[in-house]
């Protein structure tokens, strides 16, 4: 084996990108050299070519971009009617107005002595007190593990993960969940070594993630 020879394990991982033609020249040459001498990889390559062909050919229903753009345009008009600034400035203006409302609500809540959370939070369960909500932050768990754990609790995700700390807000499903059930769920989460934080929540945070972050 020469210094730049590629191991089977390394080559087999790269076969899809050999098929799609996106490996750089050096890597492609090394994978191809391995494939020429490896029966297993040659069979796998044929399968991946077939898979690529089928994936490319899978159709979806053609829809009108113009009709959906009209909906977006209307949404932008609604925002613009609140604020005639540019998009970035409009975002700040909306954020500022939310902050003002939040401060006003906080002041009001302090005056009347209530413990209800304030904007920019929204409650999903108006009329239900208290809502069956839990905030949870996972330490080190795969998406599949998180999914299985949440399913096993009889809960669903109503918000998250938040961009900075990865907080999820869960809601117990089923109309007959009690506060004791909720406390039990919090205990189970805290006992799970994959959970860093779990506590009852009283509202659902708004979507404040930065979806525009550049990698």
């Amino acid at each position: 084996m020469t210094d730049d020879a590629m191991s089977h394990d390394e080559a087999v991982l790269l076969l899809p990108w050999l098929v799609s033609g996106t490996l750089d020249a050096g890597e492609r040459e090394r994978v191809e050299r391995h494939v020429r001498g490896c029966v297993t990889c040659r069979a796998e390559l044929a399968e991946q070519r077939a898979l690529a062909s089928l994936v490319r050919d899978r159709p979806i229903v053609p829809l009108s971009a113009e009709r959906d753009f009209e909906r977006l345009r209307q949404a932008l008009d609604r925002n613009a009617s609140h604020c005639s600034l540019g998009p970035r400035a409009a975002t700040w203006a909306v954020a500022a107005s939310i902050t003002i409302v939040a401060i006003a609500a906080l002041v009001a809540s302090l005056v009347v002595g209530t413990r209800e959370p304030v904007a920019p939070y929204r409650t999903l369960t108006q009329g239900e007190t208290p809502p069956m909500l839990v905030d949870v932050v996972f330490a080190d768990a795969s998406d599949d593990e998180i999914r299985a754990l949440i399913d096993s609790l009889g809960a669903e995700i109503v918000a998250g993960p938040s961009p900075r700390v990865g907080r999820y807000t869960l809601r117990l499903v089923g109309g007959r969940a009690t506060e004791a059930d909720l406390d039990g769920v919090v205990r189970r989460l805290r006992d799970d070594e994959r959970v860093r934080f779990a506590a009852r929540a009283y509202s659902v945070p708004t979507d404040d993630s930065s979806d525009a972050r550049e990698r």
Partner: protein, 201 residues
């Protein structure tokens, strides 16, 4: 490498396309709606396909596309040119679509369990050999994959993304991209030998 956004016309986004996209984005930053409309027309169908493949529901995919373009409109100024415009937009689409997927976990885990059951009952010996039926089976097998793996399959084989581009779009290390693809291939393995034989049709 370049990303293919319109297979029917075999249009490849190269450096010129990226420059054109960057110019449109600069105009969007100045609140130019015509520029947003032009970007929308260019990216609508690729985004619709990608978000539909992840969410499995056309209406949700349509809403997600508009969510994505709203972020483009709102946050054009945050684009610093460290990646291609196409990669940035697809990254926004991935994050928006995955949020939809995660919030629908209860639905999707039941749905996927049903598909898994059907998939497990599937026997290659009894498999239909017509390509359309194979596509249907493959479609169902792909639906049964975790959305993170489905995204990598779609980005690799439909959009022609390199593993580096995929890592930027989905926000994970390159090795994770390779292993997600590997796990997806393993799960599809039951169908693939037959697909290999039938692909020459």
């Amino acid at each position: 490498m370049s990303m293919s956004f319109d297979r029917k016309r075999e249009h490849e986004t190269g450096p010129d396309d990226d420059r054109a996209d960057a110019e449109l984005l600069a105009r969007v930053r100045e609140a130019d709606r015509e520029a947003l409309h032009a970007l929308y027309r260019k990216y609508y169908h690729p985004l619709l396909r990608f978000t539909y493949r992840l969410t499995g529901q056309l209406e949700i995919a349509q809403e997600t596309v508009n969510d994505v373009m709203l972020v483009v409109w709102r946050d054009a100024a945050s684009f610093e040119g460290r990646s291609k415009v196409a990669t940035w937009i697809m990254g926004i689409a991935y994050r928006k679509a995955m949020k939809r997927v995660r919030r629908a976990w209860l639905w999707s885990s039941r749905h996927v369990a049903e598909i898994d059951e059907r998939f497990e009952r599937f026997s290659p010996e009894e498999a239909p050999t017509e390509r359309m039926e194979l596509e249907d089976l493959l479609g169902r097998a792909l639906e049964a994959l975790p959305a993170e793996q489905r995204a990598v399959v779609e980005l690799t084989y439909f959009f022609g993304c390199s593993y580096d581009e995929i890592a930027k779009i989905v926000g994970c290390p390159v090795n994770t991209v390779k292993t997600r693809m590997f796990h997806a291939r393993a799960k599809l393995k039951a169908l693939l030998p037959r697909l290999g034989k039938d692909s020459s049709r």
